[in-house]
Amino acid sequence: MSTVLVLDYGMGNLRSVAQAVQEAAKGSDVRVEVGHDPDQVRAADRIVLPGQGAMRDCMAHFAQSGAREAVLSAVTAGKPLMGVCVGMQMLLEHSEEQDTPGLGLLPGRVRRFQLAGRYQADGSRFKVPQMGWNRVDLAAGHLGHPMWAGIPGGAYFYFVHSYYAAPSRPEDVAATTDYGGAFACALARDNIFATQFHPEKSAELGLRLYRNFLTWNPQGASP
């Protein structure tokens, strides 16, 4: 029996993430918890950090929830952490959105799409937010990552975002997506894995990604 905690720190719609993780855990011995209590964080074997809405609000709520220090300690201790959407952006050092500092777990910044007046290959305008299904191209250096098990390269996942991660270290990029140029849509480093897209809204392959997370044991992770 192991426990995965979906961090609920009062931002947006975390229910959909919790439900998808619950679905992914069906038939396994993983218990899914939802909450932000530091004791819950300490007791959990794995942590999912969702995020939706404005980065500054997410960071503020995360700090106010009291879970922030416990999460940082858990990550330092090697527990697997999965960031989703703004939950991924929060892992970096800084976001252009409202000039907001992030957690700094991964070096890099979060930038806004600058696509005004530009056109896609089919002649349609680039819209911001990028909203919809786009292809996720797995990075060559991460093809064997346990989180990508059963996920074919070039598969479609669901995105909704106006800002994107620009990590400093190329080796942290686990996958890219093209929207007016390639950007990092998934990051991986040690016991951290994060996606800009929403696995909980990406049908079967999204559930597969959560299932992979529930069995992922990166080196240094607690059993």
């Binding site: 089919d122 937010p129 990028q130 919809g132 809204k201």
Partner: protein, 252 residues
């Protein structure tokens, strides 16, 4: 590249999915969860639920439906119809909706969109615009199910709603809705070219070429249709294969 989206729309009345022509002669179309699952399996990119319940009291009946669908179908869900205040957004998001669509309430008080998007993020705030040809080369915004002419220019209104924080525009041609004559292409093109947020074309789909036209000619980012799918005229899979064969990037 980003795929163009195909979105089936489910009309909900008093807690059941119904189908009919211009809201007349409504028939039960089946169990909402079962329909949602079927469309998901066929490859629908999102699902939109439109609550056409006439009474305020009846509206809460959509919440259990959204809860049941969200527990089993893992693609984005949008809910519209009768959404009046910011608190409605919270209730619908808590039930499992990903996006909430405002219509008449946004016309009555445009700052509502600013308040809702500030609180929950633009990504979950859709503004539905019902537009009708004004005979002067433009389109007026109508509310209250197409009965009330607001006098607002639809293109300018879409820009106003974007400025207030709308993350997406659901654009319905009242002239075409229910006719099966195809989308109003000039209207779709005018709005899509005028805003930076995605535009969903709605109203008038009668065959699969219409879906292609909405994207190719209208410049829509997504196309919404109801009856051609509910009637079993076409499956979602057929529609997407047709779009792909026409050279449109779709998720298959």
């Amino acid at each position: 590249m980003l795929a163009k989206r195909l979105i089936p729309c489910l009309d909900v009345k008093d807690g059941r999915v119904v189908k009919g022509i211009n809201f007349v002669g409504l028939r039960d179309a089946g169990d909402p969860v079962e329909i949602a699952r079927r469309y998901n399996e066929q490859g629908a990119d999102e699902l939109t639920f439109l609550d056409i319940t006439a009474t305020h009291e009846g509206r809460d009946l959509i919440l259990p439906i959204i809860e049941a669908v969200a527990a089993q179908v893992f693609i984005p869900l949008t809910v519209g119809g009768g959404v009046r205040e910011v608190a409605d957004v919270r209730r619908l998001l808590n039930a499992g909706a990903d996006k909430v669509s405002f219509n008449s309430a946004a016309v009555a008080r445009p700052e509502l969109i600013r308040e809702a998007s500030d609180k929950y993020g633009s990504q979950c705030i859709v503004v539905a615009i019902d537009a009708k040809d004004n005979g002067l080369g433009g389109w007026n915004v109508f509310t209250h199910g197409g009965r009330k002419d607001t006098g607002l220019d639809a293109v300018a209104w879409a820009q106003t709603m974007q400025a207030q924080g709308a993350g997406e525009i659901l654009l319905t041609s009242m002239d075409r809705d229910g006719t099966r004559a195809g989308f109003n292409v000039p209207l779709t093109r005018a709005v899509s070219d005028a805003v930076d947020v995605p535009v969903i074309a709605s109203g008038g789909v009668g065959n699969l070429q219409h879906l292609v036209d909405g994207i190719r000619l209208g410049g829509a980012d997504a196309v919404l249709a109801a009856s051609i799918f509910h009637d079993g005229q076409h499956s979602i899979g057929e529609a997407k294969a047709f779009m792909r064969d026409a050279g449109i990037a779709v998720r298959l």
